[in-house]
């Protein structure tokens, strides 16, 4: 329930985006958006597709199509942490975009840091309009460091 407010706001943004581009307000698109905003961490296309079946059946093609639209209107961001599977996450609700990626086990953790954020946000370019950013720190997590299996 706690996220009802932001979910409405997000739906609103999506509706406006669709109207602007003369795209249609299909039930599939909004069902996918709702499901995405029920997640807190990362998800990929397959996870989303499987989860969708419970509430509103859509095809994988529609899932990908909708992800593309949501990326375009910046309601989600896309990550690729080394493997081939694209990961997504919602952008509404104070998501941080800094990630610790373990190069041994592939696990991803998030962190936030004010100094880093302001340093990045203060950077302006003459020939480039920045909309968002992603920072990945690669290294070895404590779990992989202790287990010595090279």
């Amino acid at each position: 329930m706690k996220d009802d407010y932001s979910l409405d706001a997000v739906k609103d943004i999506f509706t406006k985006y669709l109207a602007e581009r003369k795209h249609r307000r299909t039930p599939e698109r909004f069902a996918i958006l709702e499901r995405i905003y029920s997640y807190d961490g990362h998800f990929n296309a397959e996870i989303l597709y499987n989860a969708m079946k419970e509430e509103y059946r859509v095809s994988l093609a529609t899932v990908y199509n909708t992800l593309e639209l949501l990326l375009d209107c910046k309601l989600i961001v896309k990550h690729q942490f080394g493997d081939q599977i694209a990961q997504y996450e919602k952008t509404f609700g104070g998501v941080v975009h800094n990630h610790l990626v373990c190069t041994k086990c592939g696990k991803v953790k998030e962190f936030s840091d004010k100094k880093i954020r302001t340093a990045i946000q203060n950077k302006k370019f003459v020939h480039f309009d920045t909309s968002h950013y992603s920072l990945y720190l690669y290294g070895v997590c404590s779990k992989c460091k202790t287990s010595k299996k090279k």
Copy 2:
């Protein structure tokens, strides 16, 4: 010619890495390493594979195998800028790890910024040993901003 020094240094690192892990010093691996260090920007597996044909014929499988080794000994880094094609770049010779990625045309430019770099490098974690980082700023480049084709 200007890079002979660093090329030797790099070969040395690779040789030591191979010896340490009891991997073999095959001519293919060193031919690939040399070719990689002749590049200045980003490259992907296919570009590298095609370029190799000119000097020392190797299979795509060997290219991928060698890229994996070079990643492991940190002589190259891997990027995935939104599309499915993994990009690589050498790490020796003061490469910066900050990238501007245009979300319209996909073009990637590099930049460096001291404040950002120090902010990131000063960040330490108790349960994570950071080895390197990548920062991506997404936005629209000036070329895509002027050409209004949505």
